[in-house]
C-alpha cells in the first residue's frame, strides 16, 4: 500500500494546475457573477484533452486511471467548482456509457464526447419525488422497436449546453428490481423540451433546468444494457459520481484553506500576523484535518471502484465527509478573512456559496446516512 502519488500523477497534477491557473481561475469569478455558461473555457479544455480524460484511448480519449482522474478533478475544483461540476457530470455520462454501453453505442458517442464536441449529462432526480426511484413517474413505454417516453426530470446539470444524457426511467408501472432502464437521450429527439433555467445560490454559471419529455421517441439502439437492468446499473454510476463529487468538495476546501492561510500570514494585528494567534491556527489546523481526511476517503472510494470492490459505504462516506469539510472550511475561511472575505473582491464568498451543494447534490447527507446505516446493519 503506497500513499505517494505516482510520478505520472504528479505530472498530470502539475499540468492541470498550470492549465487552471492560466485558463480557468482568472475568469471563474466573472462567469459566476454574469451567470454565463463558460463555453470558451470548455472549448480550451476540449482542445487540451480534459474532456476525454476517462475515455479509453481507442475512442480518442486519454484513458487515464481513476486516481489520476481524481487528481485532475481536484485541480479543476480548486480553480472553479462550476467548471469541475460541468466536467464531472459530462464524465458521469461517459463513465456510464463505458461501463454499460454496447460497442456500437461507444463508437457512436464516445469520440464526440472525448473532444468536448458533445457535452454529456445525466438525469435521475424528479422534482416531485426527489431521490427514491420507487416513486419516479417518468415512463418509457415499449413499442416494437422503440420506446415512447412521457414524464419529466428535474435539476439537470448541463441542461442547456449538453447534447446527450443518460436518463433513468421506469419501464413498468409496478415497482420491482427490473422495472427501470437507462437510455441515451439526445437533445434533438422530438418531444424533448428544456424548461426555464434555475438561479442557484452557487455554481451560478452552470445551467440547471428541468426536462420535459412528451411522447418522445427513443430508438432501441439507445437503450443502455439489457431490458430492466437500469436499477442496478444506475446504483453503480451514482456511487462513482458520489466519490468524485466528494473530490470536487475537497478541491473547494483546499482553495479555502489556501486563501485563508495566505491571508492569515499577511494580516498583521497588534504587531503579529494573525496566523501566529492560536485560535486562527486552530481553525486552519482543523480545516486541514477535515479536508485531508475527506481526500483520503474519496481516493479510497475511487480506488475501490476501479478495483471492482463495491464502495457501498466508502463512496457515501466520502461525499458526506467532503461536503462537511468544504462547508466548514468555507465558513472558517470567511471568518478568518473577516470583511475582506465577505466582499466579492476575494473568491472566498464564491467558495462559500458553492460548498453547500456538495452535501446536497447526488443525495443529501441525511439520505446518505440512512443508507449507510442500512449497509452497516448488513456488514457488521
Amino acid at each position: 500500500m503506497d500513499f505517494a502519488y505516482t510520478e505520472n500523477m504528479e505530472m498530470y497534477k502539475k499540468i492541470a494546475r498550470d492549465f487552471c491557473d492560466r485558463h480557468v481561475a482568472p475568469t471563474a469569478g466573472e462567469y459566476d457573477k454574469s451567470r454565463e455558461f463558460p463555453y470558451e473555457v470548455l472549448e480550451k479544455m476540449g482542445k487540451e484533452g480534459f474532456m476525454g480524460i476517462n475515455v479509453p484511448k481507442e475512442y480518442g480519449g486519454l484513458g487515464l486511471d481513476y486516481l489520476t482522474n481524481a487528481v485532475i478533478v481536484e485541480e479543476l475544483a480548486r480553480a472553479s467548482a462550476t467548471i469541475a461540476l460541468i466536467h464531472q457530470v459530462h464524465r458521469v455520462c461517459i463513465n456510464h456509457l463505458i461501463t454499460f454501453g454496447s460497442d456500437e453505442q461507444k463508437q457512436r458517442f464516445l469520440p464526440g464526447l472525448a473532444t468536448g464536441q458533445h457535452l454529456g449529462g445525466f438525469c435521475f432526480t424528479e422534482n416531485q419525488t426527489a431521490s427514491d426511484p420507487m416513486d419516479f413517474t417518468c415512463f418509457a413505454e415499449r413499442k416494437n422497436d422503440h420506446y415512447v417516453v412521457n414524464g419529466a426530470k428535474g435539476w439537470v446539470t448541463n441542461s442547456v449546453a449538453g447534447t446527450v444524457f443518460v436518463v433513468f426511467m421506469r419501464i413498468a408501472k409496478e415497482n420491482g428490481r427490473n422495472s427501470f432502464n437507462n437510455f441515451l437521450v439526445e437533445k434533438d429527439f422530438p418531444g424533448f423540451s428544456v424548461g426555464p433555467r434555475y438561479r442557484t445560490v452557487g455554481f451560478c454559471a452552470s445551467t440547471t433546468c428541468d426536462f420535459k419529455f412528451k411522447d418522445m421517441k427513443v430508438p432501441m439502439e439507445n437503450r443502455l444494457g439489457e431490458e430492466g437492468g437500469g436499477l442496478a446499473h444506475i446504483g453503480r454510476t451514482i456511487h462513482w459520481g458520489q466519490a468524485y463529487l466528494g473530490v470536487i468538495g475537497v478541491g473547494i476546501g483546499e482553495a479555502c484553506l489556501e486563501q485563508a492561510a495566505k491571508y492569515a500570514k499577511q494580516r498583521v494585528i497588534s504587531g503579529n500576523p494573525i496566523i501566529k494567534y492560536q485560535l486562527i491556527a486552530q481553525k486552519l489546523a482543523d480545516m486541514f484535518i477535515e479536508i485531508e481526511s475527506a481526500r483520503m476517503l474519496c481516493h479510497k472510494a475511487v480506488w475501490m471502484i476501479e478495483n471492482g470492490i463495491n464502495p457501498v459505504l466508502h463512496s457515501r462516506a466520502a461525499k458526506v465527509a467532503a461536503g462537511e469539510a468544504c462547508m466548514k472550511a468555507a465558513v472558517e475561511a470567511l471568518e478568518i478573512m473577516g470583511s475582506a472575505g465577505y466582499s466579492d473582491e476575494y473568491p472566498v464568498e464564491r467558495y462559500f456559496r458553492d460548498a453547500k451543494f456538495i452535501a446536497v447534490g447526488l443525495g443529501p447527507a441525511e439520505i446518505q446516512r440512512i443508507n449507510m446505516g442500512r449497509a452497516i446493519e448488513k456488514i457488521y
Partner: protein
C-alpha cells in the same frame, strides 16, 4: 522529421543551465562542534539551527552551498559536500520539480516553434544532478523530442569554459546540430559565455541577446537591440543563440502531450560517453576558480511610519511631489 511545407529538417539542441548554486551543502561534524552558533549568525539564509544537545545542525535541503560559514568555524567542523551516493548533489527542497527559470521555457519554445515550422528534431540538454531529470521530462511534455541529462561527479567544479567542453562533447555525440539555443541568463549564471566558446570551437555563428527568431535569409533572421535601435540580422547556420525575455510566449503543458510522453525516458550521459577532444573538465579545465565568499551585514526590516499626507489642488500636489523627487535625487 522533414517539414512538408519547406522540405527542411533542422537538428535543434536547447541547452538549459539549471540551478547550479544549490549543488553543494555544508556538513557539520557534530563530534567536534562546540555549538557557538557563529555559523548561524553568518549565514545569510538562516539555515543552521541549534539541536537539543547544543550542537549545530545544517539541513542539506535548505543549504545553498555557498560555503560562507566554513572559514568562521573555530573548530573546523564544517565541510562542503558536493555529492550524495556518488552522484552530483542538489537540494531536494530548493531545486523544485520543473523548469523554474522562466527563460528556460522561452528557449524551449523557440526551439519547438522553429521545428514546427521548418521540420526537424528538438533535443533538450542539461547538466547537473539526477533531480534535473524532472525538468527535462517537463520539456518533453512541452513537446521536445528527446531529453539528455549530463550527469557525472567529474563535471563538478567546472567554470563556464570547462562546461563548454562538456557541452561540446555532448554535441559531438549527437553528430553536431544546426541550431543551439540557450536562455540568456539564469538565476545562477549566464549561459552566453559557455555558448560563445562552444560556437567558436564548432564554427557556429554566435548571437546573444536575441529577441526574435524567424526562418529566413538563408539561415535564420534574428533581432536584437543596439542602443535605441533594433537590429535585424541574418545569421548563417549552424548557429548558437541565447534568447532574451519576451521573445515568445511558451506553450503550456498539455495533458495530451503528457499522455504521449509517459513512456519515454530521459537519457543520461556520463563523462565516459563523451569525447572532450583532449580538453580537461571540472576544476582542472577551469580558468577561474572561486576562492572565498563573505556574507554582507544583515539587513534589518524597517518598521514603516506614516509620512506626510497632503491635500490640495492637483497642481499643488504635483508640484510638491516634484520637489520631493528632487530631494530624493530621482530627478
Amino acid at each position: 522529421m522533414v517539414s512538408e511545407k519547406t522540405g527542411t529538417s533542422l537538428n535543434i539542441v536547447v541547452y538549459l543551465k539549471l540551478e547550479k548554486d544549490y549543488q553543494a551543502y555544508a556538513e557539520v561534524d557534530q563530534s567536534t562542534c562546540e555549538g557557538c552558533g557563529i555559523c548561524a549568525k553568518i549565514c545569510p539564509f538562516e539555515v543552521p539551527s541549534m539541536r537539543v544537545d547544543e550542537t549545530v545542525e545544517i539541513l542539506p535541503e535548505k543549504c545553498r552551498g555557498c560555503g560562507a560559514c566554513v572559514p568562521y568555524c573555530k573548530t573546523n567542523s564544517i565541510r562542503m559536500q558536493y555529492t550524495l551516493n556518488n552522484e552530483p548533489y542538489s537540494s531536494t527542497e530548493l531545486v523544485s520539480v520543473g523548469l523554474r527559470n522562466p527563460l528556460d521555457k522561452n528557449a524551449i519554445e523557440a526551439g519547438l516553434a522553429l521545428r514546427d515550422e521548418l521540420g526537424g528534431k528538438v533535443w533538450v540538454l542539461a547538466e547537473g544532478s539526477p533531480r534535473f531529470e524532472e525538468s527535462l521530462r517537463e520539456a518533453l511534455v512541452m513537446g521536445a523530442d528527446e531529453g539528455i541529462l549530463l550527469c557525472d561527479p567529474k563535471f563538478m567544479g567546472s567554470d563556464h569554459l570547462a562546461s563548454s567542453f562538456i557541452i561540446e562533447g555532448a554535441l559531438n555525440n549527437l553528430g553536431g546540430c544546426d541550431l543551439l539555443i540557450a536562455p540568456q541568463r539564469t538565476s545562477c549564471g549566464e549561459p552566453l559565455f559557455c555558448v560563445a566558446w562552444v560556437a567558436e570551437r564548432l564554427g557556429m555563428t554566435y548571437m546573444p541577446f536575441v529577441r526574435s527568431i524567424e526562418p529566413g535569409g538563408g539561415g535564420v533572421l534574428v533581432r536584437r537591440k543596439w542602443g535605441e535601435k533594433m537590429l535585424e540580422l541574418s545569421v548563417s547556420l549552424p548557429a548558437a543563440l541565447t534568447v532574451e525575455r519576451g521573445i515568445n510566449k511558451p506553450r503550456g503543458l498539455s495533458l495530451m502531450a503528457a499522455a504521449r510522453v509517459m513512456g519515454k525516458t530521459v537519457s543520461r550521459w556520463s563523462s565516459e560517453d563523451l569525447d572532450f577532444g583532449g580538453n580537461r573538465i571540472g576544476e582542472a579545465g577551469s580558468q577561474v576558480r572561486l576562492r572565498m565568499v563573505e556574507a554582507l551585514p544583515k539587513r534589518r526590516r524597517k518598521k514603516r511610519k506614516r509620512g506626510e499626507i497632503l491635500k490640495g489642488s492637483p497642481e499643488v500636489l504635483a508640484g510638491t511631489l516634484i520637489e520631493r523627487l528632487k530631494e530624493w535625487q530621482i530627478l
